[in-house]
Symmetry: C3
Subunit: 397 residues, 3 copies
């Protein structure tokens, strides 16, 4: 029996009735079995692809991508995922559109979704805005479908909002699962989700939030470390706490990177801006106060510079379990001596983990494809088995 | 019998021998039966899609889009239409090309058309230029095909020129046909194609021109209303007059929005620049006279501002048939109190018509697909029947 | 027997074991039989397409294009070639990416290649950089494949580097082969690869280098003509010399355009910057010396202007064999009196060769498709025969 069929048999046992035709906003909206389903389908699609079996389930149809912030990895991952399933990718470039003319989100949403099966949106720049935009957009297309404007109901893949970055964090986790040989081996493992110094400003909170909101569901000891004043959204901390209690793991916080790294099995050192600062920025932005925004930026850069010792150095790595914790990053990283003078991580550390880091990233297209697959295919387990049995070649000859 | 097959049977009776391998510039180039064919194929393709039947008639091939002005709706409609039929969409972004180097249109046309089945062009900015560009482009690809440079003869879908906007106006009309329950019910219906105030400048004439040039063919009473000095192209008025005489309808002009709206079944209030002003701008542009262009813009904005009472207000709507004429717009509209302080339409009016407005827009991808289908498929009626009979799924599983 | 099958039978006899899974950097990396294979497959794919036979060998998959310089022809040729074989084209637009943040080429290469079958790169601006970038990129994806990051090994099509422009020069040559009725007729033909005056600055060397590096392999008399100080890379001249010796042709240099054109069967007059100047620019660029770059540009433009007599005039054409040598250009050309006041070629000369020039360009999509085909398909001769026998329609109905 092929790996894909084995995975399909596992999928059959999961309760995933609420995934069909549903949006994917945040991992904590989903049950444990639903997350399991995403990982399972991702692995199955990868196995089929590795065996040159076509996984095109669409004979035409569009995936619409909207990137309100620059992107390479996620853009290409979304395009790859669409292509893998037979969708063409159509990007909404707001600079080439007439959207600036005061068009409502509701109108744009309908206008770009006429033959769209899936919508991928990245909107991570402003706290309190990113998720709201996605929700408004998807409410509009749902109404559009109900009103007979759209022939099919497009579903969302959140490609990063101000709250969560589910495709990233689930790719991170699938990498961790494979690294430790199975989800059952994660119990009791310690992960340090730690702030790290970066010379740049205003990095989104969605990765640390997504990580503590997701990894706490697997019985792990999740430690969130950051200097004072770099708090994440309290709502997400609450979720992490509840998750940890339910899964038999723990969620704790510290202001010491060294403590967090101590005996950690996994480290995820990464810069972000504080929740409070990002809220302030959102308000200044709404008020059109550019001078205020500039002043805030200077203040935050100065504040960052006080914490240059928050770096994933060789010394810091030595504190981890056997000195060889699994190093995670969503990329691109600020690498000391390579991409900047002082950054998140020592070049020698980063370099040692290049292959696992790229592998971590390589799960993202499959995670996205799995989210689409589960939202679009009525009986995903049967579909995987039929794809496998049919054995249509992706590359002929 | 499915709706698609019924429509195919109707299509069989139409004389459409001149559509195969032909370009679509202006609706008035086409016979009544040819327009009927476009509506019929659009409805059939939509029916097939709604029943999850694949309408891919191409196994590879390109649709080339050239937008010389910003676009969201039309861009996505063209991409959707190409995708529906199995073509990949390739956009010519003049900023990324070497075209600025003085390359001729003839050369560009051949260079981007090597495997193109269809070319969609939007060039609506300069009176006397848009259509000319499209014609020069298509003459070049026809020669290219004749000379053995291109393996197939690409055909044009005019995505808006300075004269007509056929994909928009035919989508508008198909919406009207469905709203009134059939093309036979349009006879005697009154439509007010009216100028309306907008704080922006230089909107194309192609929509009002396209509307009076098309709607006059169906026995309707078409009233063109605008303040003095906002005339459209006289040639198109002549066409409208002849159409009205032939179809048993009427074409009249007024300088009163209120008169036009009186007892109207349909209203289409929309801003445009006057033909004379646009001709002046084209000359200034050709002469590279930026100061002249700026001065003209100021003068036209001031002139516009004298006509702020030309707005589709609640009061104005009350004059229409039962106070509830069908409100049309090509979108995006300038909405008073929403996208601008004073604009084309009251927010409350616009909001009441949101669903029909979006539905109106939703016909555009199918109109474009039908134009492509009729230009590419030798026996479109038989093809629709075979697609229906074959029943290949668009979305598997 | 169809032309495609005849060509496939010829292909069967060629030794091309080293093309499968291999990159295409420079024509001189390839054996004569391998070049023959590219021409053969290009002609076969064109024959199949002309007979409406689908040549899709991929059921999904991506072609990634990276243009580090503007492009129309090559961009559309690559997109066409991908489409012809069933790949979707995904462009890496560095402006929309996060690459500026100091990301390494190795990281970018892996991040954009997750489901890529082929990578097309144009990087021709800086001597000593373009090829290096391509090599670094492809080394990274090969490692990525080996390390299990990528499920398939993407292969390169060099869409122009600082050294060679193989897709252009092979399209040029295939045009020449067809013009003279077969590769066997090229023996003893004289081609003048000549510098010509252009009012613009810094045109790449890759075309003249590619031409002398390729055309010398077919027993032709290749003359490289340029004013003093406009030398090409000495390494490529060495290759041309060795090729000529091996093929029984000749490679010579002259500082007289008239001598080069005398009795020439083919002329290729085109501007380029000198190797020495381009090396200087690369150094200034690396040092971030903008003032130096500007000064260099002024100096080079002044130097160019001393050679305005290097133009493909009617007078110059009269010197060629029967006054009617085949005129080649990679396009766009600087045409005297059309795209510039004084340029590479008289308008009347250029105009007389329009159809052959466009035909020359029309081979590029097929050359690219052939390169992809030979790198991806294990038994290309059998594949062509099966495609022909199967006869799947590209356009149905």
């Amino acid at each position: 029996m092929s790996k894909a069929v084995e995975l399909a048999k596992h999928l059959q046992k999961l309760h995933i009735n609420n995934m069909y035709n549903e949006d994917f906003y945040w991992t904590w909206d989903k049950t444990g079995e639903e997350l399991d389903a995403v990982f399972t389908v991702a692995d199955a699609l990868r196995d089929l692809r590795e065996r040159n079996i076509s996984t095109r389930v669409f004979d035409s149809g569009l995936g619409i991508s909207i990137f309100r912030d620059n992107s390479t990895r996620t853009r290409f991952s979304f395009a790859s995922a669409c292509n893998l399933l037979g969708l063409a990718c159509q990007d909404l470039d707001e600079k080439k559109s007439q959207i600036a003319h005061g068009e409502t989100v509701r109108e744009t949403a309908n206008m770009v979704s006429f033959m769209a099966d899936v919508i991928g949106i990245r909107d991570d720049m402003y706290i309190g805005e990113g998720h709201k935009y996605q929700k408004t957009f998807m409410d509009a297309v749902q109404e559009g479908y109900r009103d007979g404007i759209l022939e099919q109901q497009p579903t969302l893949v959140n490609l990063q909002c101000d709250v969560d970055h589910p495709t990233q964090c689930m790719a991170d986790l699938l990498h961790v699962i494979h690294h430790f040989g199975g989800v059952e081996n994660l119990k009791g493992k310690k992960i340090a989700m730690s702030w790290a110094y970066s010379p740049s400003y205003g990095k989104p909170l969605s990765v640390p939030q997504g990580v503590v909101g997701l990894f706490t569901r697997f019985g792990m000891d999740v430690v969130l470390a950051h200097p004072e004043g770099y708090d994440i959204m309290p709502d997400v901390e609450d979720i992490a706490r509840k998750n940890a209690a339910a899964s038999g793991g723990s969620f704790s916080k510290t202001h010491s990177m060294a403590d967090a790294f101590q005996d950690a099995d996994i480290v995820y050192p990464k810069s972000w801006a504080s929740f409070a600062a990002m809220e302030e920025r959102t308000k200044l932005y709404a008020a059109g106060d550019q001078a205020g925004i500039d002043a805030l930026e200077q203040r935050l850069l100065a504040q960052n510079a006080e914490h240059k010792d928050w770096a994933c150095t060789e010394e810091m790595m030595k504190r981890t379990k056997d000195g060889s914790a699994l190093y995670l990053h969503c990329l691109p990283a600020d690498i000391t001596g390579l991409s900047c003078a002082e950054g998140e991580v020592d070049n020698s550390v980063f370099d040692r983990y290049l292959v696992p880091l790229y592998k971590e990233a390589s799960y993202k297209p499959y995670i996205i494809a799995a989210m689409i697959f589960l939202a679009k295919v009525r009986d995903p387990a049967r579909a995987l088995m039929e794809l496998d049995a049919r054995g249509g070649q992706r590359k002929h000859f």
